[in-house]
């Protein structure tokens, strides 16, 4: 089966529910809504994607996204599935029964993005303590201890170079004249 055929099968079953479909080399890329996340995953699993490489979240400020990277050990195809999730009610069906590897990945996604995985067997935070408030990888996450990164002096430096580009080159400052070798007293010439 070629990636194009895989995409064809997906399109046949889901039709307009899929968007952003494209085949990039051996990779099939597609985007779908949260309700279709699980059925698409089931079909992909049946089409031979038995290995879940990575499950990650992404915050696009207007909506959240759960990204599945799938592959197979038998053929070189890969799948890159993006599932759009509503930001206020971020719920998707869990796929941890399709791929057990999704178990911890989904917990991590919940921990850092706050996406709820419906049907997950052990829905707890994984990296942060259980009573942590907020989801750190969301773009609007605020914490009083979070110190913003500053490029110390970088902005001034950039501004200076930008200004220097336009302005004519300043005349080279003359180097200070060396003291005469005979001047053993250390007097500065011309001051006496």
């Amino acid at each position: 089966m070629t990636p194009d055929e895989i995409l064809e099968q997906l399109k046949q079953k889901f039709g307009d529910a899929l968007s952003g479909t494209e085949v990039k080399g051996v990779e099939v890329r597609l985007t779908t809504a949260a309700v279709n996340g699980r059925p698409v995953c089931e079909l992909l699993r049946d089409l031979g994607f038995e290995y879940l490489n990575c499950l990650s979240g992404a915050d696009w400020t207007t909506h959240l996204e759960v990204v599945y990277n799938l592959s197979s050990l038998r053929h070189p195809h890969k799948a890159h599935l993006r599932v759009r999730v509503d930001r206020d009610h971020p719920v998707v069906r869990s796929v941890s029964d399709l791929w057990r590897a999704a178990d911890w990945h989904e917990r991590e996604c919940f921990d850092l993005f706050g996406v709820q995985f419906d049907g997950h067997p052990d829905h707890r935070r994984i990296l942060l303590p259980e009573d942590w408030v907020g989801y750190p990888l969301r773009k609007d996450y605020a914490d009083e201890r979070l110190v913003p990164y500053t490029d110390y002096g970088m902005e001034e430096k950039v501004a200076k170079t930008e200004a220097a580009k336009g302005a004519p080159k300043a005349a080279k400052a003359e180097p200070p004249k060396p003291l005469s070798k005979n001047n053993v007293t250390g007097e500065i010439p011309g001051t006496a």
């Binding site: 490489n53 990575c54 990650s56 050990l73 070189p76 057990r100 911890w104 994984i126 009573d131 408030v133």
Partner: protein
Amino acid sequence: MGAPRRRVRGAESDILMDTTNLPIPIGTTVMIEHAGETMEEMYVNMGPQHPSTHGVLRLLLKLDGEVITDCIPYIGYLHRCHEKIAENRTYPQVVPYTDRLDYLASMSMNFGYVLTVERLMGQQVPARAEHMRVILAELQRIASHLLWLGTFGLDLGNFTIFIYCFREREMILDLFEAVSGQRLNYSFYRIGGMAFDFPDGWLDNCRAFLEWFKPRIPEYDALVTDNILFQKRIQGIGVIDAKSAVDWGLSGPMLRASGLKWDLRRNDPYSIYDRFDFAIPVFDTCDVWARFLVRRQEMLESVKIIEQALDQLPSGEITAKMPKTIKPPAGQVYVRTESPRGELGFYLVSDGTPKPYRYKVRSPAFCNLSALPVMMKGCLVADSVAILGSIDIVLGEIDR
């Protein structure tokens, strides 16, 4: 007792939530009747401060006498939200942070990251830099496996192998120090090439090391591989079959020890790995013993790759011509490489600015550790250390 990292301090939150949910307090036993037999049930905490958890990992074991009936890993003690940090740094600034992911294989971590950014930019790398990358990454694989073998021996009470392995690892670290000036966190890979060329005489030193290293494997064999006590200790424990291994997303030596011939250097070649001739060691007993044999064999295969790369090493540039500010075009990519612990994946989303919009690390040890309960169930408490050791975890990479 208590959880010092908690934000809300109070009488309630001083007790770990999961511990309060247990039917009996940790460390006490209760007799229960099950299918006509009397079982002695007990919960035991292993870690977070335990010498054989290789870092701060906590395992909650449910025991029936000496037999483990369940195991729940608790991770996150080293969490520093690496991914959030990376979102606030420019692309080249992230390289030093990747060192701290898997601090025992920093070269491999750098390799994976720079490869991902280059893939996103469509950037080619000069041939000499590619060869340097392969040589250093494979040396790193040997160093990492040596450290694993040493500490694994230590876990099992075989102290001698630890000393031998560290002797060889020290030589590799000296080679790395000569190249990069660092012994652990190298930050030596750059987007588009390498930081520096090899110093004078380094190639001869590297060859001398390989010649010296090859006869060391039989030496280890005499110490551990042929040691009947060592064999009996690790054979038949921590079994995970091929189907479950794929299901749980195991990778690297763990997958190859379950009988699957799968190596990303061969199956999804990146960099210039398709130019080298090397074997993929596979064993199908699916136990700790098989994982030991896979890693032992892999060290020799890495030597083969390094020798070929040294022979083919071309002269020329070590960095491609790169723009001053690295701004990959908007898009996203997932790139996987074979780190000493398995499939290291980087998922990178760019919005066209100098900073990554989203950056995620698929850590191999994270996935391998998630299958620990499967391997632990039914084993003896004394074997838990051997099984945990066989996964080759690095907490810096699991917790990120």
